[in-house]
């Protein structure tokens, strides 16, 4: 039932808005709204009940295991939320003077410094509001760098075929042509293809390492040399930073610019699809082009770095300073973990992934890159199973929902057929992983004994398989009252 269907004309929550309608008005008649606003007229209790019930139709980290590759679904500590929501932080206006926000700015400054040190970059700006915006900002800085040198010939960005879809989309949004390069049979970028692709037209290479195939790009140093020698810059998509945190720094791998998805490595909540937050880090030569604002420390006080300090900045990419509340949550998380805890992120994410990979292999699943270590994630391919039984990766994914597990990422990366990208994250216990393996084994048996049942999954959710084709053909994007 939609919230609108609970609505009754004239129902109102008296404590939530002014008791008497204000009469003083200077708004000209011709600008006043004549049509009705179709917000529901529902009681506070019915509202609370409606949205509580809706929440119960969701899977979430707080209720289920999410082995969702490339997404890093791990525990979001409650303290990060409650401390970021202290009333003084919530009530602070973004344009309030700097001296009324020294506590907040201290947190932001320290977060910048910590991110710099763990990534090996020379500068960090916290403004990007999501991974894709971090990418956009990163690629904009690459463009600004080349143009500042009078080099306008660099029109291409190289992207491996295993990359996240945001990489090529970002390059195009930034006005670049995308050149895709292939991956070899072991999951590394094809070096010869890269060498053939670079030239005076190369603005840069965007790379995720470990890659979306869940393996460490062994040739990264050589790739860095090839791209730099051609005059291009290296972009690090920090989506998988959690796999190598404390082991290897993007700065040491030769990257010139990176973004860090805080909702992944630094455990800020996914919130059903956002808000994200993705600070960008840069090497020395890109410092002048960083987006503003940035926080500077002078003596014991903090202030915003603005256009005046950075005249070559690519500018502002949000109305204020990005997703401040998300940044606070990440700061609190980092301080709770401390240095040792930061090292353990990659160590235990990798332990969990390799253990789960070993156990699933023993259970009879085919691993896409069996000769490689898993990073924090790995790929199972269902190609043989599909060829034999007609059951697809998507069918298995939906059947997992019935077993109380969120599905792994399916059909990404695009180059492995019928793939399941599985990432357990470091906060899951061995028992949870073992129970997941038991369910995966059960599904293998079900695929043998009752394939049609598996194909019809899910069976226990609030709805069965939904008609996507109908949704796109007969667009129904907004509720309208019946006439």
């Amino acid at each position: 039932m939609l919230i609108f269907e609970h609505s009754r004309k004239g129902r109102r929550n008296y404590s939530q808005s002014p008791a008497t309608p204000a009469s003083k008005s200077a708004i000209p008649q011709n600008l006043l709204r004549k049509s009705k606003v179709l917000l529901p007229e529902v009681s506070e209790m019915d509202t609370v009940r409606h949205f509580t019930r809706l929440s119960q139709k969701n899977f979430s980290i707080d209720t289920e295991f999410y082995p969702l590759g490339s997404c890093t679904m791990k525990y979001n500590p409650r303290a990060c939320n409650s401390l970021a929501m202290l009333p003084q932080f919530l009530s602070r206006h973004p344009s309030a003077p700097e001296d009324t926000g020294q506590g907040f700015l201290a947190c932001m400054y320290e977060l910048q410094e910590i991110l710099k040190s763990v990534t090996g970059m020379a500068g960090v700006s916290l403004t990007p509001m999501a991974g894709a915006q971090g990418e956009l900002i990163g690629v904009m800085m690459i463009r600004a760098y080349h143009e500042s040198r009078g080099d306008f010939a660099r029109t291409e960005i190289i992207v491996p075929d295993a990359a996240h879809g945001t990489n090529p989309a970002t390059a195009v949004m930034c006005g670049f042509k995308v050149v895709e390069i292939a991956t070899d049979k072991d999951g590394n970028v094809d070096l010869d293809a890269l060498k053939a692709a670079v030239g005076p037209q190369t603005a840069g290479l965007m790379l995720t390492n470990p890659s979306t195939l869940g393996v460490f790009e062994k040739n990264v140093a050589e790739m860095s040399r090839v791209v730099h020698e051609a005059g291009g810059l290296l972009y690090y998509d920090g989506a998988n930073l959690n796999a190598v945190l404390g082991k290897v720094k993007p700065g040491d791998m030769g990257f010139d610019v990176i973004h860090i998805n805080l909702h992944k490595t630094f455990s800020t909540p996914h919130g059903g699809g956002g808000p994200g937050s993705a600070p960008v880090g840069v090497a020395e030569r890109l410092l002048p082009f960083m987006p503003i604002p940035i926080v500077a420390k002078e003596g014991d006080s903090y202030r915003w770095v603005t256009e005046k300090d950075k005249p070559q900045s690519i500018g502002r990419l949000s109305a204020h300073m990005g997703n401040a509340g998300v940044l606070l949550r990440a700061y609190i998380y980092v301080r709770l973990l401390g240095m040792q805890g930061m090292h353990r992120i990659s160590e235990f994410a990798t332990l969990n992934a390799n253990y789960l990979m070993a156990e699933l292999r023993k259970a009879g699943f085919e691993i896409a890159y069996p000769n490689r270590r898993a990073s924090h994630e790995f790929i199972v391919t269902m190609k043989d199973i599909k060829d034999k039984t007609g059951v697809t990766a998507m069918n298995l994914a939906k059947r997992l929902l019935d077993k109380g597990y969120h599905a792994p990422t399916t059909y990404f990366p695009l180059l492995v057929p019928e793939c399941l990208l599985i990432e357990p994250a470091e906060t899951e216990s061995k028992e949870t992983l073992d129970a997941f393996v038991v369910s995966m084994k059960e599904i293998l048996q079900e695929i043998e004994s009752q394939p049609d049942m598996v194909k019809g999954a899910p069976h226990t959710m609030s709805v069965r398989k939904l008609d996507d084709v109908k949704a796109a053909r007969e667009l129904d994007l907004a509720w309208k009252p019946s006439a």
């Binding site: 917000l39 979430s60 949004m173 949000s318 509340g325 240095m339 253990y355 061995k430 609030s462």
Partner: protein, 450 residues
């Protein structure tokens, strides 16, 4: 080990299963020369008790002020239920609703949100939100250019939020789109319609129309919309969602209505919190829906014919279309929209109208009181919504600094962005201020200016 449940026994068993001697072995594919040492830039970990003390100290340092700053972020009452429900784990810690059957809560909520925003803006359809108001406007500009076919030019009056104009420029210039700024009338504070309609801007893709504008002033939206349409261009409205409860929505501007409506959603239940996370909203006419960026939710049916909700029109998006997507945008501001949907449900149509009317009336009331102070006058002659520019007899920065000492954040200094206005201050009042608060502000300003 914070948030890591492994016992020594677990670790040993897991390594045995993998066939590795140590956790360190699992990183043996990383070339030795790249391996870094300890993360010495990170301080030692704190207990929850210790981090609580630290954050409380910092929060207390920032304290509380009586706030009269608006300028794109507005203080409103937020019902307690909004964030109590929003931070339920099932909303807070859920993923993007790609697995529709396991995400019906989020998907239905987003459909309800889209319905509310479409009605509020007077448009046909809304997406599931953008990052913030500024980026929503930039995306609207890109969308207009994609849909227009012949022009890569956008007209933006200087009465649009100055930072929004900067953000639009930063984003669209990557695609060689030209941004032309239009003049405003320094007497009325409105986009200068007379001057604009006499100028030949050539072919352009869209005109941006703010309502209210950055000065709080109400624009001649009907005339501006019709003018844009007469030039075969799109009209993009940038609107305040609270104001829409009182003001004609973009979908009804002029004879045909604006084509795209965007804005900052923060006033709908999102705390000020130093600037984010907020959310941008975007709504449009049916004809443009396939050019709209971002997630869109549709209502459909399941195998049994039961109603359900899915992400739809995904062929526009980066995870399917890669380099041919309408935008690189991946996330929406899911949790913020959750809060906004609960807020709009609790407040209802009459509540939102009263909040808008009270904010407007209290602004009038404060301005009347302040105008009685010698040397203070309204900067513009035209009606405003809940923000008004005032011209002061002393430098704005000095006045604001003295008000701050009295615990009052007196408004936004217009000098940096509009030096031609002299000592100008933008003051905002919402329903959160009482009559006593307004008297207190007036008395404080009088003292400061004495």
């Amino acid at each position: 080990m914070p948030f890591i449940p492994h016992t020594e026994e677990d670790i040993a068993e897991m390594l045995a299963s993998i066939g590795a001697k140590s956790i360190e072995d699992l990183f043996d594919e990383i070339p030795k020369e790249l391996v870094s040492g300890k993360l010495t830039g990170v301080p030692a970990g704190l207990s929850e008790l210790e981090i609580t003390r630290l954050m409380m100290e910092r929060a207390n340092k920032d304290g509380f002020y009586q706030n009269y700053i608006g300028a794109g972020a507005y203080e409103h009452h937020i019902p307690a239920a909004v964030w109590q429900i929003t931070t339920r784990g099932e909303f807070y810690s859920s993923y993007t609703p790609y697995q529709a059957e396991a995400s019906q809560g989020t998907l239905q909520l987003l459909y309800e949100y889209q319905s509310m925003m479409a009605s509020l803006t007077g448009m046909d359809v809304s997406n599931a939100s953008m990052y913030d108001g500024a980026t929503a406007l930039a995306e609207a500009a890109l969308m207009a250019v994609r849909s227009h076919k012949t022009s890569r030019k956008i007209l933006i009056p200087k009465t649009v939020h100055p930072i929004y104009r900067q953000v639009v420029r930063a984003i669209v210039s990557n695609q060689k789109i030209e941004v032309v700024e239009l003049p405003y009338d320094t007497k009325t504070g409105q986009a200068d319609l007379a001057a604009i309609s006499k100028t030949d801007y050539g072919d352009f893709a869209a005109l941006v129309i703010p309502q209210p504008n950055f000065f709080g002033v109400l624009e001649q939206v009907d005339e501006l919309t019709d003018w844009a349409h007469s030039k075969n261009s799109f009209a993009i409205g940038v609107v305040n969602p609270t104001a829409l409860a009182m003001l004609t929505p973009p979908g009804e501007w002029g004879s045909k209505g604006a084509d795209i409506a965007v804005g900052e959603g923060q006033p709908l239940g999102i705390p000020l919190s130093s600037g984010g996370p907020y959310f941008g909203f975007m709504a449009c006419k049916n004809e443009l829906v396939r050019q709209m960026p971002g997630r869109i939710i549709g209502r459909t049916t399941d195998l049994d014919g039961k109603e359900g909700f899915v992400l739809t029109l995904q062929a526009r998006e980066q995870h399917i279309r890669r380099s041919k997507a309408t935008s690189n945008i991946c996330t929406n501001q899911g949790l913020m929209v959750t809060a906004a949907t609960i807020y709009m449900s609790l407040i209802g149509p009459e509540g939102l109208r009263r909040i808008a009317a009270q904010s407007h009336a209290s602004t009038l009331e404060l301005v009347e009181q302040l105008e009685k102070i010698s040397g203070v006058k309204r900067t513009f002659s035209t009606a405003a919504f809940h923000e008004t520019a005032l011209t002061l007899p002393k430098p704005t920065a000095d006045v604001l600094a003295k008000l701050k000492q009295k615990g009052i954040l007196g408004g936004f200094d217009l000098g940096a962005h509009y030096p031609e206005l002299g000592n100008a201050l933008l003051v905002c009042v919402t329903e959160t201020k009482t009559a006593a608060d307004l008297q207190n502000y007036a008395a404080a300003l009088k003292q400061v200016l004495a």
